[in-house]
Structures are given as structure tokens and as C-alpha cells.
Symmetry: C2
Subunit: 436 residues, 2 copies
Amino acid sequence: MPPSALPGFRDFYPAECAERSHIFQAWREVALRFAFTEYDGPPLESLDLYTKKSGDEIVGQLYAFEDKGGRHVALRPEMTPTLARMVAARANALRKPVRWFSIPQLFRYERQQRGRLREHFQLNLDILGEAGVTADAELLAAALGMMSELGLTKDDVRARVSDRRLLNGLLVLAGVSSDQLPLVYGVVDKLEREPRPVLEEKLAKAGCSDLVVARIFEVLKFTDLDMLRSEFHGVAALRDDFSRLASYFEMLDALGVRDWVVFDLSIVRGLAYYTGIVFELFDARGEFRAIAGGGRYDNLIAQLGGGDIPALGFGMGDVVLGELLRTRKLMPRQADALDYWVAGAEGASDTIVMRVATALRRRKLRVEYPLREQKLSKQIKTAATAGAAKVLIIHDDRTATIRRLADGHEESVGLADLLDGAGDGARDPWVSANAP
Amino acid sequence: MPPSALPGFRDFYPAECAERSHIFQAWREVALRFAFTEYDGPPLESLDLYTKKSGDEIVGQLYAFEDKGGRHVALRPEMTPTLARMVAARANALRKPVRWFSIPQLFRYERQQRGRLREHFQLNLDILGEAGVTADAELLAAALGMMSELGLTKDDVRARVSDRRLLNGLLVLAGVSSDQLPLVYGVVDKLEREPRPVLEEKLAKAGCSDLVVARIFEVLKFTDLDMLRSEFHGVAALRDDFSRLASYFEMLDALGVRDWVVFDLSIVRGLAYYTGIVFELFDARGEFRAIAGGGRYDNLIAQLGGGDIPALGFGMGDVVLGELLRTRKLMPRQADALDYWVAGAEGASDTIVMRVATALRRRKLRVEYPLREQKLSKQIKTAATAGAAKVLIIHDDRTATIRRLADGHEESVGLADLLDGAGDGARDPWVSANAP
């Protein structure tokens, strides 16, 4: 027996590949509709591209090695460093804002992760060079547009939104000191996953007084932006943050996605990374991990050596999304079915079958025919297995029967116009017969 | 400055990515039309998957390393071992013939190759489980169908075809002994690239007498299959080979590609690999390296541990093909242009611009709008830079002007039907106005 795929790596057989294509196509189609253009970088990059952002600890989670030229290299674990590198190299030539997307395969090696995937595909969609809140709204609308495109509704998916600047202001107001902030963010991030006493203890250890701890939890219980805003109405330091968020929600309304979005201060995301509005997409029933996450990261591109440029973006992986679509029965069963199976009846020559198949393929139809002599009954069975919509049964050089496999309906046809015609698009009956 | 991509690796900026997509789309579209379905495997595989086929020498050409679990792994240098592995794992469950394609990125590390690419994308299209010559014809027709789809004609591209079995028979007949055959194949392979005296000397060194050498060159000068066949008419050992090739060319005629194909015994390809009909695609002017190559490799899948199954396939890379398409001006200039740029005139609110953009995007149109306030004249300039077909200038919540950028033609429109309508496909004027 040949070896199997490496642990954590997937083989994509036709069924799985069709599901993957279905997701990629929705991502691509909506990204283009939102005026994003596709880019890609190499799956192998210099290791320092990642250590520069995340420190040397990241190496333990990477497929990192020394190549034959003595270079320290790694399979890409994320796309943003490549994006920063590419934008920096052509910073002056690119029209701003840069609106780019990519669908890279990403790789992580962690020893402990038995049974977990070590690769996945992740849509990355980013806007670089625009600091205003309109860009934030546009970004989330694009992410939610992809959900719609895949057949998901606001009853299936929720976007939870927060703003790091507002949370920061609220925590400072509650009495958290700036050196306590990172630890407090960590606690906020775990609000849904750990019991309150555990979190309170962590906060106490960080030096937060009982009063400060109580204030933190009081602030975090708000799920309505307007109520939070009236509560802190008089605080000048928060005025800009509230007004920015209010615009944001108005714009989400204009972009037709307000109904999908809830305000949730507990959405923190990458601690050292995001600087403004952040969001995560979840399935509404809470059965899966996050579908997507992103937000504004105005300092990161500069940190990566990519120049001082405001930026925002999100990542959406293929794994959780695929699980959700399968659970909701939104994954198409057979993407690549055939339009015609061309079958030769007794007396039909090999070459007439091939000529007919060629004429149909020139009309952009998907066509298979048997590569060896077979009885007609066997051919028709194979056609059904192959997922053909119709069998075209060739009797001789001039006549044939079209059998629709769904209901067995048959129709006699002549072959002259098919073999002679140039296939002039929609007016060609051979094509329009296959129109949806 | 951030580091650049590793030597031999490409960054795909939007322009290059659009070219890549153009090629991938043609490959995919024609493969599906020919009833092939897509699969994929991991870019990282066990090293022994490659050493098993090619011996330990191959390691010197690979990105090979030890992962953190002590596994010897390599970035895939070719797809066939993965294909064999995947087919073997489900040998009984798969409908035969297996008709699969994939577009993997492949990796080779050779120290000497300064300035040469170390990665490329390669279409792999294979038929497994069919020994008959019809499959060989179908395979070449698919490869040439891709050339047509990309706008290339038989004046741009030639397929050169040989049959390893016929060549073998002819060489044995010329007096080449079986232990001399591999070296003689090597000489045949170099027929076009090295001067005849050099090749004659190589043959002499291998122990071929002057008479045998003369006979070899006599056979190789035939470029017409029919003439070669009459020359060796009486030789029983060659009868099957000639008759198979004759059927092959008849079938290529029925499949509409006979005109692209020339008979050329000097096409040998991978020495220890191919067992039957082999082919290469070249540009007709001979300016580039081969565009594609493939053929029948009936023993390889078994060698790779994939079971005793006849097989044939070809590989077509993105690099040479891309060069040819650019040279012939067949590469589209801007693939992802916009249908509409939505511009707000003075007095139009932000949200009306967003609502209109959303309504157009729901009609599957590609739409951008400015993410910050800009003068109308600036917006129209940006729209042109962005490759928009039309600018929709919003005056207020109800009225707008459509300006076609190609000729400046303007038309006044109301927005009510756009904002209210559901976008019912082809009958929607907002969509049909953009039909090709």
C-alpha cells in the first residue's frame, strides 16, 4: 500500500474538491462584486517575515526549515506579512485604497494537535490606505455578502462587533491602568468560555480592585450600543468612539446587512494586532467555532516594514464554513455533472460518436462518451452514474435519440444541424435545451 | 524595507494574478467539458512518495526536510505520485476510467538554477483504467481544446506525436540490442538539440555498428506515418503498432484536431516512464520550450504502489504558456474591471450611494464607490483608473445620471426601480445594460 497523506493534511477527492470550489467561487464572486482584486504570494517565505511580527516563539508553530541555500524559510502560516511585503514593494504605484483579496493555503505545525488539521484555505480580504469608518462598514458588508451568496441568512449567521478604542476608553474609565490593559483584554476575550469567578480572580491578580472588577463586568454586560451610549453620555473622551460606531451601524443599514450584526464588547481578537472596530462571524446557534474574524489594524503594516498605512481586513477559513454549509444542507451535491453522455447504438461508428461529442463540446457543453465498445444498456447505466442530464443515442451518421435521464422522456433528432452548425450561442437548440 | 520573495518564487500582483486566472479558467473549463473532474492533494507529502519513483537522487532537487514529528517530507515536485496514492486508496470505489484533473503548484530546488523559477503551476489531466487507443486520442484532444479556448490556433501550436512501442520495434529491427535501448532513446531525445556527429559518436560508444547507426537515422528521418508504414509494410512485428497509430489519427480527425498534429519519432519523453503513445505541444514557430507533454504510462501506477492499472496523462505548465499568450497578444489586459462606479454628486448623502451600490451588487454587478468624500471630478477620474465601464452619478435620493466612460454618453435615470426591484435576472435593465 502507498502511504497516506501526512497527518493533518487533506486529500481533495472530486466530491470534496467540488465543495471547496463551491466555497472558493462564492468568495471570489462576492469579492469581485465588492471591487476587490485577487493577488497571491508564494506558499514558502523567509522565516523572518513571521518572526518579525510574532517573535521567535512563532517558530514552534511553523513548518520551518533551512533550504539548500542556507536560507531559513517557512510555509506561510498567515497571509498578512506577505501582503505587507508586496504592498511595501510597490507602495507608490498602487492606487489607494488597495482593495485586495487572496485565497491562500496556510500551514501550522503544532506537535500537540493530534487529529487537528495542519493546513487550511483562508480567504484574506483587506483594504489598505483608508482610515475612515466607511471602509470598516464596506469590509463587514463584503464578509456578510459571502454568507448570503452561499445561501446562509441572518438566522444562520451573526456578526459580533466591537471597537477596541471604545473598549479601551471604557476600561480606562473603569479604573484599569494602562499596564493592566493587555491582561484585562485577555479576560474579556475569555468572557464566554470561562466562569466569572475564574476571571474575577485573574483580574484581582492583575491588581484590579473589587470596585474596578465590578465596573468592568458592568460595562461588558451592555449588548445595546444606544443604552451604553446614554449611560456614558457625558464622557467627552468617549464621544468620538460612540459617534463613529453610530455611523458604522447606519452604514451597515445602507449596505443592507444591519440585521446580521450585534454589538458585543467581548469581541477582542488578536491582542497586539487590532486597533479599531473588530468583528467575528458566528453561526447563530453557537454550534461551531468562529467562521471569520477581522477588523482594523492600523499599525501592523508599519510593524511589518510595509510603511505607515492604515489597514483593515478579515480572514475566513474553509473548514468551519464547510461544516456549517454541510449541516445546513447548503452544499451542492454534484457540481460537475455532464450535459450529455453520447452513446453509440449498434451500427454507429466510433468516429460519429466522437464527432458528435466534439460538436457538443464546441458549444461549451460537458460531454462524455465511452472510451471502449459497450452495449447500449451498459452505456445508459454509466451515463446515470456519471451524473449526465441526457443521453444522446447515436443510431447512425444522421439520426439520434435524446433521452432525458430524469424522466426517461425521449425525442428523435437529426444530427446534420449539430455537426454543421457553428453553435451560435443561445439560439442554438442544442445549447438552449440545456439552459437552466 | 521588508524582504522580497524567495529566489525563484513569484508574487502575483493583481495584473499577474488575472493572467494566471485566465489560464486556470481555460484549463478548468475545457477539462470539465471533456468530462474530467477536479481533485487536489496536499502540497507537502512524505518524501518516500518521490524517492520510490525516482530513486534517492531526486532528493537533491526537492524542497525536502524533516518535520517536527521526525517525518521526512517534501514539497511536491510533481502530481502523479499523489494521484497514484489517492487512486490506490479508493481503487474499488472509483468509476473507471478515472478522468481527473488538478492544477497543483509544484516545487523544485536545484542549486545551480540561478534566475530560474523554483515553483510553477501545472495542469495535470489523467485517464486511469483504460488501455485502448481511444483514451489516447481523447487526451490529446483535451490538451488541444485548451489551446483553442485560449485563442491559439493550429498556426500557433503543434502537437508532435510518437509511439514508444513503434520506436522500440523499429530500433530492434535496426539491430539495437535491448541493453542498448535506453542509451539510444537518450540519443533520439536529443536529435534536434545536438549535431549528428556527436550523436553518432554516442551511439558508436554504446556499441552500435556503423550499419546500425545509419539505420537508426534513416528511420528517424520519416515524418510521414503512411510512408514509414509502406516502408515497413511486410514486418509482422510492427503491424499492431502501425494499425493502432492509424486509428489514433482517424480519431484525432473525428475529434477535430488532426490538423494540429504531426508525427515525430524523436519525441521520447521520460525514459523510464512512458510505454505507448507520447506527445508534446510546441509553439509552431519554435520560440519556446514545450508547452505540454504527456502520454501513456501503463506501468507507473503499479510502480508507485497504486495497483496494476493502465494510465495516461499530460502536464501543462503556466509559465511557457503564459509567455506564448503574451507574445501572441492573447492575454486579456484587465480581467476584473468594474461594471459601475457609484459617485455621489454634491448633495447626495453617503448612505444613498451605499444603498445604490448594494442594489447593483445584489444584481451580481461589480461596483465600487469612494470610501471618503471626494469632488465629483476626482471620483470620475478614479473610476476611469479603476477600469469602470460606467459611472452612476447620484444627484439625490431619486435621480442619477449614467455616464459611459468609453464615449462620455450620458443618460438620466430614476433610482426608484433600482432600489425597490429585486433584480430579476436578464429582464432587469440595470443588468442587461451590462450584457456583453
